[in-house]
Symmetry: C2
Subunit: 572 residues, 2 copies
Amino acid sequence: MLASKLYAPTLREVPSDADVVSQQLMLRAGFMRKVANGLYSFLPLGWRSIKKIEAIIREEMDRSGAQEVMMPILQPADIWKESGRWNAYGAEMMRINDRHDVEYCLGPTHEEMITTLVKNEINSYRQLPVNLYQIQSKFRDERRPRYGLMRSREFIMKDGYSFDIDDAAADVSYKTMYDAYSRIFTRCGLTFRPVEADSGAIGGSNTHEFMAIAEAGEADIIHCSACDYAANIEIGKPGIMKQVEEDLKELEVVDTPQASTIEAVAEMLNLPLEKTIKAVVYAIEDKVILAMVRGDHDVNEVAVQHAVNGSVEPEMATPEQLEKVGLTAGFISPVGLKQTDDFAIVVDESVMETYNVCGGANKADAHYININPKRDFNTEDIIVAPIRLITKDDVCPECHSPLEYSKGIEVGQVFKLGTKYSESLQATYLDQNGRPNAMVMGCYGIGVSRTLAAAIEQYHDENGIIWPRAIAPFEVVIVPINAKDEALMSTSTTIYDTLLNDKVDVLLDDRKDRAGVKFKDADLIGYPLRITVSKNTLESNEVEIRIRKTGEAINCPIGEVSGKVQELLSQL
Amino acid sequence: MLASKLYAPTLREVPSDADVVSQQLMLRAGFMRKVANGLYSFLPLGWRSIKKIEAIIREEMDRSGAQEVMMPILQPADIWKESGRWNAYGAEMMRINDRHDVEYCLGPTHEEMITTLVKNEINSYRQLPVNLYQIQSKFRDERRPRYGLMRSREFIMKDGYSFDIDDAAADVSYKTMYDAYSRIFTRCGLTFRPVEADSGAIGGSNTHEFMAIAEAGEADIIHCSACDYAANIEIGKPGIMKQVEEDLKELEVVDTPQASTIEAVAEMLNLPLEKTIKAVVYAIEDKVILAMVRGDHDVNEVAVQHAVNGSVEPEMATPEQLEKVGLTAGFISPVGLKQTDDFAIVVDESVMETYNVCGGANKADAHYININPKRDFNTEDIIVAPIRLITKDDVCPECHSPLEYSKGIEVGQVFKLGTKYSESLQATYLDQNGRPNAMVMGCYGIGVSRTLAAAIEQYHDENGIIWPRAIAPFEVVIVPINAKDEALMSTSTTIYDTLLNDKVDVLLDDRKDRAGVKFKDADLIGYPLRITVSKNTLESNEVEIRIRKTGEAINCPIGEVSGKVQELLSQL
């Protein structure tokens, strides 16, 4: 392709509302444009990269035995009502009525639809397993769309679904997809990590998120410095932190005027945070839940939900809810409190191992000191559970080595769904004995547009994007430093034709702009290799090949350019 | 691919609500499934064919200099209000509000969005021309979805848009797309015809529809038996049919009780239809329009709209509207009528060339005989225009040869839009003199899913589909007549590997079903070539290659299969 024909308007200025690097660079480099809040158009460069990601996904999905289909974006409300998710999905699901006032949604995911499709066609164990996928625009009406493609409202997703005869077979499908995903993200050039994750609202029993490691990520990951253990901190299992045993001092109330945070109390009383305990009050529907962790720990809301068998994620309790169960915000501890049908107390395991700690006195402007949970909490009124978030100070739950912490962008997720949807939508098959069984399902998603953004978050510098070769819009750009010079253009064109002929994805920057402008654009757009054709090197019948990633520049005889380019590309 | 792994459930029964052959066959052969009224899921076979059509489109669009982009499906209402189409589009446009009650539509087409995109980036004549396209699901809430993929509510469309400096340049873009479309449909194997068409609601000055010729088509096409002339009958220019001149007889009223159709009158008075004139009364908004054609002709509503410079398509007048302007339904002619601001009379040119004809007497149960329009119509009160539909009895407007009539499925359309959208959305560029000009636009659509349906309408027999090679889901199926026979399977696998290696798109039917079942499925699904591996031919080291299209079967030595297959495919 010729740059003079390419529709790739670059911007000098960083758009003011672009809040992450990938978004800024995609706008500046002419990869995409914003249409409205959370809605983007891909321009030719961005779309070329997306298509390369899609091609890699298709190859690896097909290779693993999955088959591509295409279901409608418009989904009848009926099937969502049958599965129970029409109401559960909330405001994030975009809903629309047709001219006859029949209700539909714009698919945020397709479990209901694929289950409905398959249940009418598959009757026998002989027809299983089946694994079907599609690559399609999905819709989620985010409360706060942000971070460009990472949290947009319309986004490209690969969603796949497997159907098996039983758990063991479903585990095989799960593993096949796990492996395919590993190959896909490896081929895309991402630095990623599969991490254990929470199965959340989608239901299911086993799940891994594929996390692209990047500062801009919204997910918190803990991983082992020695073994393969990695988990979303929501699911990371913290150990029990024991404190050095002390003599139990007498419980005492002290005045702590206005000190309604544990940090303020600790400062006021000159205590280290680990010698305090912290209360956070949640509500799940009408039930109020008091969660207690050590002052230096944080509450894991997912663990709180599990501890009380909550059907939905906990939300922070309102002042009205606190008042209803008699709690004094900022000054709460389990001492003297009783659980009821409307009120549960969940205490983290490590809290139970503290001695002589400080916590709320359950009245305004006062705290207890010398709380000893094993002595002072009524065990019949509390649930003891691991409800704190795992931290870097914990050790690996598998091999006890030190842990490390990263931020991650969730680019893929594999789920073992079990029979949640096949039961609610009656997707059964007859087994070898002619008895009906619910199919065991898995579902597998890849954020295609998000993968593009994640790659940029990982690979950029102050001058622009540094594309992994496999998903670069072009692998090579040829820059004649003066497009009006016939000798330079003639050499450039010869190299261009040779590379095209050798199946290299190459752009010839034939624009009549100054060399500086073209170099800046090449760095900004981030082609893996730049071939500079200038009078200097042409004298010795050479051109310069520059590697975007390392900045290294090599002079190469014109006749050997194609071989050298292919050699360099294979190393990128 | 192995048939035992392929998700392609075939049906024995023709689904009762499938109203055209393509829909029936796609359902029976396992290419797609119905989700809801006008909504379909593509199964793997159908999706393979769609992807082949898309690949052909991409190749030809890219070759013609167009560049692929991807705009959101969700479109802000604002830009449609700016262009004036938010209201004009009516119930066919699907509208949706987001969680903040901001209005959007699901894109039925993207003129507004692409114009908005381009206008912010292109400032100078130096940046033009630009031609951008996308392949995407589109949404139109049809009043009556029908004919499967031919009139569905969510469908796959290639939509493209060109921007030029002036009319002459836009004509070049138009011609480039016209040629690309011709290549695309030729490569897809369709029998098609580009026909002149009406530009309709989208606006614009020049347009061709690409019609796949098929009985199931909804469009009426007239084309010349000798030259290239072809037109949608809505736009076909009828000549003036002259009648043999007669002495003008005296106007006379005759009783025609209950004869309120021209056919009834002709029968009652024993007149040939061409000796009668027929009234059809329309309304465009509040204006009533009396259209008169010969009794043996039909009214062209598009021509009526043009004749009165109507802004929208005419609708049939209501009884109230007729009464308001004093017309007596069933007994109307222009004789004695006067035009007003609310009432226009449009008379077809051929009506003016009739003698002593019969028409309504403008009172109930009575007709005039011996109307002579040139004598009896007040020329100041009528508009004379070519408002009849062209018929097979006309001659070619270009070369005067006989015309032929076909039904067509509109699979593509090229439009010269002019400046309708660039003016309403202010998409201007600065010309060489620094003066702002509106860009001259074109838009170009291909119904991708409809192309698939059209191919099946054209190529099928009582046993199933007969795919053109380029868009068949697989080019070749290998059928070992007994999959449990190791010798047959071994030969089949060898041939399969050889063909795969030679880049032939081949399916191996390794299912353990009876040969008859596999043959029936092969015919139904419509693979262009079937290789039968049986003991009979294996004795002489041969297999049978059968051509689906002709039914011809050839025995071929096993070592020569790949060469023969490629030779046969190249002829299909």
